[in-house]
Subunit: 470 residues, 2 copies
């Protein structure tokens, strides 16, 4: 009976498992009826040409899981199962589109990533290996959801000196990404239907995370002084997402008067400002403008930082520095939702900061990036003078270039550039409302900016003349 439908693949091994799965599936599909008596194992094993013990073990599994019943010897029968036969339904109708190949074409003007070739592999490997060997028993438990205290202290020391943050270590929470930090604070702050201000143009991840939390987004136009809180109409915000040091994507630094007005607007609305200070460690002319958090006196600002731009996105460490009033709830939610970082990575990164490797890396990379920014700006200004306007830049890892012809299609230009080997993001992708076309150009890996700028000029000129003609 059974030897007819169980096709054993002897080369594949695990005959016991093959028999178990085949019989289980036949029983679940209703093709072996409840009460059906299974043949004696001795005779069946002989017919199938397998060891009797293999068959006995497979039957034991079926019995243990409830597919067959009865005591061996007095007869084993197929159990009566409650549900109707199950049809196979979750096969995807066509192959799911796989994500793009995992080797992205980082090239000239790619933005959003630092120069990954400069990642300090050897020192990082030493820090990680040393901590993996030295961590004690209690470090390996669940630990504090807000992160390892040594890392929180080391991060605070860095941002107090480099960014003017004013806080104590208990205000720091470690997370795997800025997205996770925005998500945490949005969940702690917002109820569905609450208003959130967001810079226009602005960071698409912030737009989408806030929307998923049920926020009604109000895009706040940014001019040469950044977001203008006095331009607001409509309901008061509960949350305000800003990048005051180096607006993403325009690169503008928010003026002091706007900063103070923003703090005032937030305090009077009882809103939380999320200050995303994603790449402010890199400043090439003048001293970095201190962060907004440092001049807040009323617990209105949560400061967000990340190691994605200073080290590499792949290490997956970011941090939020919260006002006291939100700490208790944010920690509780963080603990529940468990967006935490491996203890080995946290401990290694704490050492990396404390031992001065991080500061040395920033100093070294600032010199490299400063030169690349200068060369890239000069190349684009020189070659693309007819088609692009490039505002002043003081720091950061990317800059925005605006089309002189406001009707040009920046998505088409970016697609053509990508095909020509030049990575550039269309500025329109950053707008919720009417976009101003342009390109976001990264400088971290722009090692041949001159050649890339001539490609941009060729493609932009073609596109903008087409737009003018059309």
């Amino acid at each position: 009976m059974l030897d007819g439908w169980i096709t054993l693949d002897r080369a594949a091994g695990d005959l016991e498992g093959q028999i178990y799965r085949a019989m289980r599936d036949e029983i679940l599909a209703g093709r072996l009826s409840p009460g059906l008596r299974l043949p004696a194992t001795r005779a069946l094993a002989q017919t199938m040409g397998i060891a009797r013990s293999t068959l006995v073990k497979a039957f034991e599994r079926l019995r243990a899981e409830g597919y067959v019943e009865g005591v061996q010897g007095s007869g084993t029968r197929v159990a009566a199962l409650p549900a109707p036969p199950l049809a196979l339904e979750d096969v995807p109708p066509r192959p799911l589109p796989l994500p793009p190949p995992s080797i992205p074409a980082y090239g000239a003007f790619e933005s959003g990533v630092p120069d990954l070739a400069a990642f300090p592999h050897a020192i990082w490997a030493r820090c990680l290996g040393a901590r993996a060997r030295s961590l004690r028993v209690h470090d390996l438990g669940y630990g504090a959801a807000e992160g390892l205290s040594a890392l929180r202290e080391a991060i605070l020391t860095h941002v107090m000196a480099a960014r003017g943050v004013v806080a104590t270590p208990d205000q720091v929470i470690i997370l795997p990404s800025t997205g996770a930090a925005i998500d945490l604070l949005a969940h702690v702050t917002l109820r569905p239907g609450d208003t959130a201000w967001i810079e226009e143009p602005g960071y698409p991840t912030a737009q989408q995370v806030l929307r998923r939390c049920g926020a009604e987004l109000v895009p706040m136009p940014c001019d040469a002084e950044g977001l203008n809180p006095r331009a607001a109409t409509g309901p008061a915000p509960r949350l305000i997402y800003v990048t005051p040091s180096h607006q993403y994507p325009t690169g503008v630094t928010m003026s002091l008067s706007r900063r103070l007005a923003l703090l005032e607007a937030a305090a009077s609305a009882g809103a939380l400002i999320l200050e995303d200070d994603y790449d402010s460690e890199f400043q090439y002319s003048g001293r970095p403008i201190a962060c907004l958090q440092g001049i807040d006196r009323r617990g209105s600002v949560a400061y967000l930082g990340t190691f994605s731009k200073t080290l590499a996105p792949g290490i997956r460490v970011a941090y939020a520095i919260l006002p006291h009033r939100l700490l208790a709830e944010a920690r509780a939610v963080q603990k529940l939702r468990g967006a935490t970082v491996s203890i080995h990575v946290q401990a290694a990164l704490a050492d990396f900061l404390q031992d001065g490797h991080f500061r040395a890396h920033i100093r070294r990379m600032s010199a490299v990036y400063g030169e690349r920014m200068e060369v890239a700006l000069a190349a684009v200004r020189h070659h693309c003078a007819d088609t692009l306007i490039v505002p002043t830049q003081r720091g950061g890892l990317q800059f925005a270039a605006l089309f002189r012809n406001g009707a040009a299609d920046d998505v088409a230009v970016a697609t053509a550039l990508q095909a020509a080997g030049v990575a550039a993001k269309p500025l329109s992708a950053f707008y919720l409302g009417t976009p101003q076309p342009g390109l976001l150009l990264g400088i971290a890996m722009a090692t041949d900016a001159d050649a890339a700028a001539t490609v941009i000029q060729r493609i932009c000129a073609r596109s903008t003349s087409a737009a003018a003609a059309g």
Copy 2:
């Protein structure tokens, strides 16, 4: 003028920063009025007894950030700032309670953690260090939000063999914790007000995460066969959270007929079953019952696994294996919310699995835990026969013991036990409705179960006789 209120701490160094911060704070507080002309740096530096260049640099910072205006030489004046003086308001009224000291008292019967002293430090350090040195440039970028493909494949190979999961690697998503996985799938599945079934008693983190996502929780009583889907009344569920292999906390294994009924109930309601298979790698008698996911044919089950119990919570890696129908949205949400794992940890763990270290660790620890479970069960059954009932156990890292006196206060008993050095969780903490009192006892670190059981008996007897008298 200025030398009166700027108190320099010469020993602390950074005189420039001290002057900058003091003046900034005075200006923000409104104590230096707009238009006020600052004294010439030469004279002031002399009065203050500092180098003129230090003062000039501090004034430069104030000018760059907009606190003072005017060209040097022709007079520097305090800028007119828009906002009223800011009062310091975010000082916490009393010191925030610090989290408990980070060294928890892991002791006899602590549950929820494996034996951390057995963590394979040397091999793990080798894997981490090797990957930190060998990862290439493109591995350090943002990478796929669903995780490193080598790790997803290695996990799938493990759970297919060990747990009977049926899936392809594209169905696997890597996350830092089971809480993050529940949160992701709840967000993808639930709308506020949707019904979610949860086992009663059940996992408190799941209860709270689902509630935070707006779910209406329906506690479904568990008996000796696990959750009974036929006992349901009220609206159909959108999500069902279960631990069928080893119910948390009771330790019951869900029967086959209940499994099939649950699959049927989920399919007809269009609900997603979250199968949390948190510690099923450890099975001491008989063969492990295959997971629910493996017999689902209609895309109703998402399988959740974790390395917190098999290796250590501190490495912070868990995984979800999703039905095809949810993949696209789950990946998009996962990418946005960024609850991802460091690439170094993912790559090292993939090696650890592929090289057989994980299987060897499981095999070694199964023998250790099996013996500890046997000794612990025998000790509690022997010493606490008057006060506790201990159901049969086939695997896992903890067991539930029920009070014979149903009126006893298990929270008071657990508190008294904690003070006596025995970690035990009160079962009532796992109930949403009327609790059945008892204790959850972990065996992973129970190295002196006999002594601990006598303590339990002493404290339980006192408490239950008090309850009988009261």
